[in-house]
Symmetry: C2
Subunit: 198 residues, 2 copies
């Protein structure tokens, strides 16, 4: 006994992600993760600060993955096309990683866990960048980002948890909702640019 089992923090994250996505976030217990890794539960404390630490690791892992996928989806596009790409990538992510996606919230309060806060803010900053590039002034962009983020989060959460009743034509609904939001944003951008031109 006392052998090293070659366990890395990344390995823990991957195993926890697999379990969370397969069996639901609440199934990603210390016991389940340890068992999957072939070690006893208390040994996990050498890698992670209890259950809270495991959840944090999951959120961190998810935030980085989501940012990567956003960047890949956006490429060098901008404007409405970039927003559509982000929306689709977000839904794709939520579909492929339901457990990880769920671990995203609650967000830490600012000053509580700055590193995690920062990681989770990155995808939002990316959206912010798109809006600012469209010519929307910062004071206005805050509200539009929140609206966009709320729509995406709400839609995907409802979809994941069956809150839409019958799962009929949800693809159409998603596209319609995103287009609705994008038109609103484009109108705001148009107004802002018109003001700037005078």
């Amino acid at each position: 006994m006392g052998r090293k089992a070659g366990i890395t923090l990344d390995g823990v994250a991957v195993v926890a992600t697999t379990i969370a996505d397969r069996d639901g976030l609440e199934a990603a217990t210390l016991t389940a993760v340890a068992s999957e890794l072939g070690i006893k539960t208390p040994s996990l404390y050498n890698h992670v600060n209890g259950l809270a630490g495991l959840k944090r690791l999951l959120a961190m892992h998810g935030a980085q993955l989501l940012l990567d996928e956003f960047k890949a989806a956006v490429g060098d596009r901008g404007g409405a096309e970039a927003l559509r790409a982000i929306a689709d990538a977000d839904r794709d992510f939520a579909t492929r990683h339901p457990g990880l996606f769920e671990s995203f919230l609650p967000a830490p309060r600012l000053g509580e866990d700055d590193e995690l806060y920062d990681a989770m803010a990155q995808p939002v900053y990316l959206v912010a960048g798109v809006l600012l590039n469209m010519g929307i002034p910062q004071e206005e962009a805050i509200h539009l980002i929140r609206a966009m983020w709320a729509l995406l989060h709400g839609f995907l959460d409802l979809e994941a948890k069956g809150g839409f009743g019958m799962p009929v034509e949800i693809d159409v609904s998603f596209d319609a909702a995103v287009e609705l939001m994008i038109s609103g944003i484009e109108i705001a951008a148009g107004n802002a640019n018109a003001r700037a031109a005078t």
Copy 2:
């Protein structure tokens, strides 16, 4: 021992709601509820089918309360005014009953628990009624309801869980998001009515 303690299902619901709203949904355990009621944990099984039953009771209670508040808020208004009233009532509800609000999702799959499914669908039907009265055809209304519902749910969930970062000007953001959605709905209603007039 063996005395009746005069406990009603409604009493259980009220106590559970109080705890959930005060200390968070996860604090509404069988032990906590039983303790607050002055009985032992296993005795709760005479009223409620375990923890799942308690959560169900909470969701049921919340759905009915929300429907009442929606109806009171809407009154005999219609159109955009009704939608604004619903949005504000929803946010008000989420603020006053954070635990209860959280218990709303996950929704049961259709056929799994029809009574709860129906109770949770009522508030949605109310929104549906408003849209149909605005002249929006049913096929289109489905998508708009989902968008509206997703926006509200997402916004309130993010707000409750601190997902917006700094809590600055959230009132403004909420109004802006709701107005954005309502303009989209009004445009759709205008188009539909124009088509109908020809």
